[in-house]
Symmetry: C2
DNA sequence: GAAATTTGTCTATTGATATAGACAACTATA
DNA sequence: TATAGTTGTCTATATCAATAGACAAATTTC
């Protein structure tokens, strides 16, 4: 994020226009390109990145379609104000309260739910037998009408029968767990990684293909240490950053 | 990470062979493809991902060059054992101790150092005046001879004059800070993001172009809360995951 | 030894990516 | 109004990416 000099790589599997679109996004995030101001003209950008003007235009076209830039013939190309959400992550992470102050409206939409046998990883995380029934929820986190996260969560089907209905109704994990007598819970562990978004995430998060997602894999436990939830969440790296606070 | 069904996207700016290489890496990390065992044959992979066999071959060729796979004519393609390092991150994150047990040898190599005026962000983080002199260190974290991180760190030049020499000698931030009377420090805040690796990171981390890096921006403080270090670290997403432990 | 399986190499074709140049359309400013 | 600066459109060309098919080379299995 710190405007270090770096150039563009060719024949990598990643097209130049996408690399340049990434760089422009970084530039906006790092303050190199101010919001609500004009981007340098296309010829200047082309020279700066060492590519043809048409290649820069492809990158800009992608970002215009993505809603990050607005191009006006004769005037210039402008940076729309769309701040990166800062998503706090720690022992007491909650979707809704975490984004307080940054957005006016947020909730979790239930995309689908199913019951399936637990795989090895999920069984271990939840402390149940491999093959035991688990409920799988596919959800999307929304803030001010924008998709900011996409998650897959698993619950022990025996312990949390019907939680999908509670989720659909309340739009909140915390509220749904209350119906099962859980008034508080902690994040036990979180593992972080990153990858290219797959087709499912692209559609659900309204991303351009090739976008990067931050991935968190987390286990939530009760205050007694009983595991209740296993979740994999994906965040669009271009719109969200994760913030760890000390002592959390 | 959780073997969810997902397909490949076309005309995205990211070539199919790179997307498939990413998927194979994920498959190895998630256990879909066992280490030291044979990958499914090329025709099977082509069918699974819905692409031509030659496209799969391009992906495999990239991973072979990257040292992840080994192809043997007539026998098959094998997964070399190269586990993803799990890098713990929390209030007491230390490079060396964090990787204890996962690697036998680790240290930080000093690539270069310079003195420069502090920018706005760095000045704010370190609590000094904008434009005041700061020492910038470019370092590479190495474990068992493999590059696992690439960092840029800034120190107040007045307070830590000569720290570059200490770093070059000791290969450790913790040891270097001890020479300045700092026996303990905490990670005050960490912000996480992800992006495509730039040319500098590609070279320093020995990555294939197009690779993704996890980025952490952190401020370290003394036990009194005095900020001492501002750092941006990059981790290759294909080789490292970040692990947050509760109560850290 | 023969057959089946698997990776390696070659040719050919199509569409996407990137470069190059020229000019039109629009805006702001002298 | 004229001029300079900027985005938009068009044509052309070369290279990369992806598909398709055929066959060679090496290994394992029967």
């Amino acid at each position: 994020m710190t405007g270090l000099a770096s150039s563009i790589e060719r024949r990598n599997g990643v097209s130049l226009w996408r690399q340049i679109a990434d760089r422009i996004l970084q530039g906006i995030a790092s303050g190199d390109f101010a919001e609500n101001a004009a981007l340098p003209p296309e010829v200047a950008l082309a020279e700066r990145y060492g590519v043809n003007r048409h290649t820069v235009r492809s990158a800009i076209a992608a970002l215009v379609q993505e809603g990050v830039l607005r191009a006006e013939q004769g005037r210039g190309t402008f940076v729309l104000s769309r701040k990166r959400l800062s998503y706090p992550i720690g022992a007491r992470t909650r979707f809704s309260t975490g984004l307080q102050g940054q957005t006016s409206e947020r909730h979790i939409a239930l995309l689908s739910s199913s019951t399936e046998p637990a795989g090895r990883r999920i069984a271990e995380a939840l402390g149940i037998a491999k093959g035991a029934a688990v409920i799988r929820l596919e959800t999307r986190g929304e803030a001010d009408g924008h998709a900011v996260s996409r998650a897959t969560t698993w619950f022990d089907a025996k312990r949390f029968a019907g939680i999908e209905a509670a989720m659909a109704e309340t739009g909140s994990i915390t509220a749904s767990l209350k119906r099962f007598g859980i008034n508080d819970y902690l994040r036990h562990s979180t593992v972080l990684s990153a990858r290219h978004a797959d087709a499912d995430d692209l559609a659900a998060l309204d991303l351009q293909p090739g976008a990067i997602v931050l991935v968190t894999v987390a286990v939530n436990v009760t205050l007694d240490g009983e595991p209740i939830q296993f979740a994999e969440s994906r965040f669009p790296a271009e719109r969200v950053e994760l913030k760890l606070s000390a002592g959390d």
